[in-house]
């Protein structure tokens, strides 16, 4: 059935992001707060997601993945740029109009412990969006909730239990059921399996894939585990310090990475096979990621790049298509 997803690769664009920036102010002073700088969490990114596909978004901690997801859903109002969802620009909307659009877009969070209200029953957690969006109430709501629990592989009779009575994997299923309640078209999955045990991760990945097929969902799948991203994504975007450095289809990215950062990232992933590990050569990146409050001049990656040239310290490489929808931001490919 993965074929149906593949076929959609050339399908309609569901979401298009243009020049998206999300800067957070850094302020100083106790009485008169004045802005002394800004954290450039997301600093001008462009990408699109086709209807029915999964775009993986990978990168190191703090590079701006979650902020991107939130800015798309307008949970943060972007500093600049546009987010076109089904052709309409969400950044220009507010109030009731925006609320109606939001119903089509949901989010699943990383931490299955912190993201569920501990004082609400599972029934109320999953049913709340049904009431908020006037979809169902009373007996109808209850039936819909039980149906949703069944869909995500939980016992429907859990409706009266509280989150603390569940394991991490089960809580993540509750979060997924809640996201599905309003029949969304698009879900931002923000590290939905990172907090789970290895033996449980595969259960949730399979569930997300089954739900995608069943309901024709489109995903933005945020993660830092590149093996899982390869498994679940149709295309993958790689982020570094607030910018996208590369984006292409899954197989091309893993077989023919162009950006030096993507190369290093892939080479750092340990392979669970001692024979393979013994023979592998690793690109070990020096140093740490610079602060997003003070990114380097020129290419963002120049402080750690093993292949940096003079121009990389002067100018910023554009993010552009080098052929067949393979986007990269690097002067090696100018």
């Amino acid at each position: 059935m993965a074929e149906t997803r593949g076929n959609n690769r050339n399908g309609d664009v569901l979401l298009r992001v243009e020049g998206l920036k999300m800067h957070f102010p850094i302020t100083q002073g106790i009485i008169w707060q004045r802005q002394v700088g800004s954290i450039k969490a997301v600093d001008g990114i462009d990408f699109y997601i086709n209807s029915g596909e999964t775009l993986g978004l990978v990168g190191e901690s703090g590079c701006g993945k979650s902020t991107t997801g939130r800015a798309i859903l307008q949970l943060y109002r972007p500093t600049a740029g546009h987010v076109y969802f089904q052709g309409v620009d969400l950044t220009q909307m507010k109030g009731e109009q925006l609320r109606r659009q939001r119903r089509k877009m949901q989010m699943i969070f990383q931490d299955p412990y912190a993201s569920l209200n501990p004082r609400m029953t599972v029934g109320n957690i999953v049913g709340e969006p049904l009431e908020v969006h006037n979809i169902a109430r009373g007996k109808e709501k209850r039936e819909r909730v039980m149906e949703l629990l069944r869909v995500v592989g939980l016992n429907p009779y859990f409706v009266n239990r509280y989150p603390h009575e569940f394991s991490g994997g089960q809580r993540q299923r509750i979060g997924i059921a809640r996201a599905l309640a309003v029949n969304p078209d698009f879900i931002v999955c923000d590290e939905p399996i990172s907090a789970l045990d290895v033996s449980i991760q595969a259960q949730i990945v399979n569930l997300l894939e089954e739900l995608q097929e069943q309901f024709g969902l489109t995903y933005l799948f945020i993660a830092h585990d590149l093996s899982v991203v390869r498994h679940i994504s149709d295309r993958v975007a790689v982020m570094y310090l607030g910018k996208l450095v590369e984006m292409t289809d899954r197989d091309t990215l893993y077989e023919n990475p162009l950006h030096p950062y993507t190369e290093a990232l892939l080479s750092a992933v340990p392979i669970p096979d001692p024979q393979v590990e013994a023979k592998r050569k690793r690109i070990i990146l020096e140093g740490d990621v610079p602060s997003p409050a003070n990114p380097p001049k020129g290419c963002n990656f120049n402080t750690r790049c093993p292949r940096a040239m003079d121009i990389c310290f002067e100018e910023e490489p554009p993010f552009k298509d080098v052929g067949d929808g393979h986007y990269v931001a690097c002067f090696l490919y100018e």
């Binding site: 993965a2 190191e60 901690s61 394991s167 991490g168 994997g169 089960q170 045990d197 290895v198 033996s199 449980i200 991760q201 595969a202 259960q203 990945v205 399979n206 894939e209 830092h224 590149l226 093996s227 899982v228 390869r230 498994h231 899954r250 197989d251 893993y254 290093a264 990232l265 892939l266 080479s267 750092a268 992933v269 340990p270 392979i271 669970p272 096979d273 001692p274 024979q275 393979v276 590990e277 013994a278 592998r280 690793r282 070990i284 990146l285 140093g287 740490d288 990621v289």
Partner: protein, 330 residues
């Protein structure tokens, strides 16, 4: 081989309001001089408790080491008086923890903390300790160590803090370094730096390492021998190549099959292990893996299989022989 540490039938429990948590249920193994031994298993299976018990760092109460022996240099660490144990802990057996922020003191500089360990354990003078600290920080790859030694922990990144912890762990030339998930909180590129560093240092210093992790990828590149834990038991133990090429416990097999691999053709579907690990407050009577096991037989519900030799240097705790029931590759 030269045995450095011998653990015999170690048992640790927690006596809580809700009942007795059976965290470590009689585990036995040896650590050889200079080897890297990995302990893998999922959250809550008893990895940390099992190594904290070795050097009696279990919070007591509610914890209690209810049985076993830990032989190191002709002495049972579990019977040693507190003064003698303190001389071994942090000195001949050093430990680094998962979260370097909680294990470094935020109000002391990096230098003060490394120097203190050297003065305490090796009786160095203040001046000697400072010189040695700078050397150690350079050795673990802190750039411009002489200048950064007076920084506070919050001025360091996560990867740098973990390097400091490693420097402190190594400061007394320990014979055993216990590393409890030292890279779990770090990014893959930083993890690769740390793993690379530890491998290099191990060759230089010649210590033995017990490395705890969830990550079967890291283990493959780092360990010589592996212990797989499940629900407070060792369910499999083997040399690293044998464990991956010829896993003998259904849990190990399941874990290896459930993870997607970057170096293989993408599978259509992942193969999860269904179900959940057991509740250690109320452990099952038979094999702890039985409720999730694809290969179980009636006996598995009744009796817990002992860890026994299944091949040279290879032990597993299972009533069946998985090589009978699994194809070579499926």
């Amino acid at each position: 081989m030269d045995t450095l540490l011998e653990v015999k039938d170690l048992r640790t429990q927690f006596f809580t309001q809700d009942g007795v948590v059976h965290a470590v249920n009689g585990i036995s193994y040896e650590l050889h001089r200079g080897e890297t031994l990995a302990i893998v298993g999922e959250s809550g299976c008893g990895k940390s408790v099992s190594v904290l018990s070795l050097i009696r760092l279990i919070p007591q109460p509610p914890g209690k080491i209810v049985g076993g022996e830990v032989w190191f240099d002709g002495q049972d660490l579990l019977k040693l008086d507190e003064d003698d144990l303190r001389r071994i802990r942090g000195n001949r057996i050093a430990m680094i923890f998962q979260d370097p922020m909680t294990s470094l003191n935020p109000v002391l500089t990096i230098g003060q903390q490394v120097e203190e360990a050297l003065q305490l354990h090796l009786g160095m003078s203040k001046h000697q300790a400072r010189q040695r600290s700078i050397e150690l920080l350079e050795m673990v790859g802190i750039p411009d160590a002489a200048a950064r030694i007076d920084d506070y922990p919050h001025q360091f990144s996560g990867g740098m803090r973990q390097r400091v912890m490693i420097a402190m762990g190594l400061s007394c030339n320990p014979e055993i370094l216990i590393a409890d998930q030292p890279t779990t909180a770090l990014d893959v590129t930083i993890q690769a730096q740390i793993v690379d560093l530890v491998k290099r240092l191990k060759n230089e210093v010649g210590m033995a390492i017990i490395w705890i992790t969830h990550d079967l990828g890291v283990v493959a590149g780092l360990a010589e021998r592996v212990i797989v834990m499940y629900a407070g038991y060792i369910v499999e133990e083997a040399e690293v190549n044998d464990l991956y090429a010829d896993p003998r416990h259904p849990y190990t097999l399941g874990l290896l099959r459930s993870i997607p691999r970057l170096d293989r053709v993408r599978q259509e579907k992942l193969q999860p292990i269904e179900g959940l690990p057991p509740d250690l407050l109320d452990p099952p009577k038979g094999c702890p893996f039985a409720p999730r096991c694809k290969y179980r037989i009636d006996r598995c519900w009744e009796e817990n299989p002992p860890l026994r030799v299944v091949a040279p240097n290879h032990r597993a705790a299972c009533w069946i022989d998985v090589t009978d029931v699994t194809g070579a590759q499926d």
